[in-house]
Symmetry: C2
Subunit: 321 residues, 2 copies
């Protein structure tokens, strides 16, 4: 009973599940969270083409780059050049990650209209990643967010390690809610709850969103380190979340192996959403093509299951939306 | 903001999600559905040790081998030797796959007490895999199931291509229910609904189980070709299903690439179940050890995300149950 070689052409039939949103915005983090964690540094022209392809595939929000110091993220040292090279498509947002006031200055000079800041939900990661305490990290964000808002920018906030970290174990839900609330109170329009090490499970996701009092202003950002990202996304959708972070082809965050995946792959997410009859505005065929093209530039296969399945069967059409 | 190398030690906290079963039986198919689709043929002693390790890790049902003709599945040509070599642990079931009356005779001679038969939900796959029509395939099963029941055996039935196949697209739900009902009516105690090509999504899963009138006597068997297996499992659990098929380390069914996964990986499933506070009786640490050991015998890394994450961080303990 072998079915070898027969997988490619099948298509998901849309079957709506109860209690899911009609429409979901996929917040694409590939050019930033994806590329910053890849060992290969991609030339700026390739990055610009990547961003252009994502917009052409229907993305309405593409986190484009980061103003973190190149000493920490050499992969994105060309942030200014990239922003100059990206042709803005009307209706598409191009946020950039900004760690501090210096980064904000650069973003403002380059005409950026949306930024993201990043916080930690745990003491140890705040120390390791930001060189701050859980409490004192806000001294970094406050002036950045205030000044960004003064200039009319939208500010998103990431919270890392919302489900657990490698040093402290499971993160207490109340601690995540406190960090998150403080960021929202600063004026951030959206909070992206990150499972940075991928340990969360669906009941934990539902409990965390419930502890925030519901899905308003919440987005989710799952890593697939333990294979839980899509199941966790389903739990978040059921809890009413309508913004889901994902990375083209699942690139980025490969802590252990070149073939391991860090981020939830956009294509695997879109396969599920379209199968569930949830609108995304995205063209899955174009996304798979972009991932396959990018994998060639990165010199490794895409970790996305959908990309692997569809790109090995080139004669078969990707599923229609 | 890199978190490279920090993933291994974190642990899932158990957070129960509403409406899930208290306990789930993981129906382990690694020795049969896993190994039959691997390019490497494993010696019979290794298979026997594999089965023994699975029982020691807490599995209560291990599909051990198949009496499909060695011409079709040379990997399992040693079925009789293996059954002689496996030491039965009290309380553990060791079903074998049986395609026809000849296979059943061999199983009976060897003292097998539980078998599984396999059917197709689509016309094209019935023709390709069984050389029968959708309707005439039952002429194969009827005498096998009748004779097995006469001898007091338990009979499970697999239905392949329940969500779609590569030739006909999505499988009509009514067609799956008809095939399934006929198998149950023959006296099969359990029906395993297979997403053989991995195209299903959670709403489709819920709709199919609903069309059967509920989860009674239903098990699910998901392949991860499009990354949907665990999200689909979550949907099945919500619909009340308490038997989930999975394969050690995700081995088996690699239609395209050596690193691609076919079956849902047992460890990824168990991570989710334990995170959800669902009892399985399984020791995740022992499962990861077994997968790592087996991967060495197969000469390729395990496709399981959990195994990849935990086996690269040997100093870190796997999550406690």
């Amino acid at each position: 009973m072998t079915t070898r070689g027969t997988t490619g052409g099948a298509r998901p039939a849309p079957y709506r599940a109860e209690g899911l949103p009609e429409r979901v915005t996929v917040y694409e983090v590939g050019p930033r969270d994806g590329l910053q964690n890849e060992p290969v540094v991609v030339p700026v022209e390739v990055k610009a083409e990547f961003v252009a392809r994502l917009a052409a595939a229907g993305h309405t929000v593409i986190e484009t780059t980061s103003f973190v110091h190149p000493r920490w993220v050499p992969q994105l040292a060309d942030a200014a050049e990239l922003l100059a090279a990206v042709e803005r498509v009307p209706g598409v947002r191009y946020p950039v990650l900004v760690p501090n006031e210096r980064g904000l200055e650069r973003a403002l000079e380059l005409g950026v209209t949306e930024i993201a800041v990043f916080a930690s939900a745990t003491e140890t990661f705040a120390a390791k990643n930001l060189n701050r305490t859980l409490d004192s990290q806000f001294e970094m964000f406050e002036p950045v967010v205030a000044r960004a808002l003064e200039h009319g920018l939208k500010v998103r906030a990431y919270v890392s390690m919302c489900f657990g970290d490698p040093w402290e174990g499971p993160t207490p839900i109340g601690q995540v809610v406190e960090v998150g609330r403080r960021l929202l109170d600063l004026g951030c329009f959206e909070l992206s709850l990150g499972d940075t090490v991928g340990v969360g499970t669906p009941g934990h996701v539902a409990a965390l969103i419930g502890a925030f009092g519901g899905p308003e202003r919440l987005a989710v950002h799952f890593h697939d380190t333990y294979g839980q990202a899509l199941a966790n996304t389903l739990a978040a959708l059921r809890a009413g979340v309508t913004v889901v972070d994902a990375s083209t082809g699942g690139i980025g965050g490969c802590p252990y192996a070149e073939s391991a995946t860090g981020n939830l792959a956009t294509e695997d997410l879109v396969w599920m959403l379209h199968g569930l009859g949830v609108e995304t505005g995205l063209d899955l065929g174009a996304l798979v093509e972009t991932s396959t093209w990018l994998a060639g530039r990165l010199g490794r296969p895409s970790p996305s299951r959908v990309v692997q399945a569809l790109s090995k069967a080139p004669s078969e059409a990707p599923p229609k939306e």
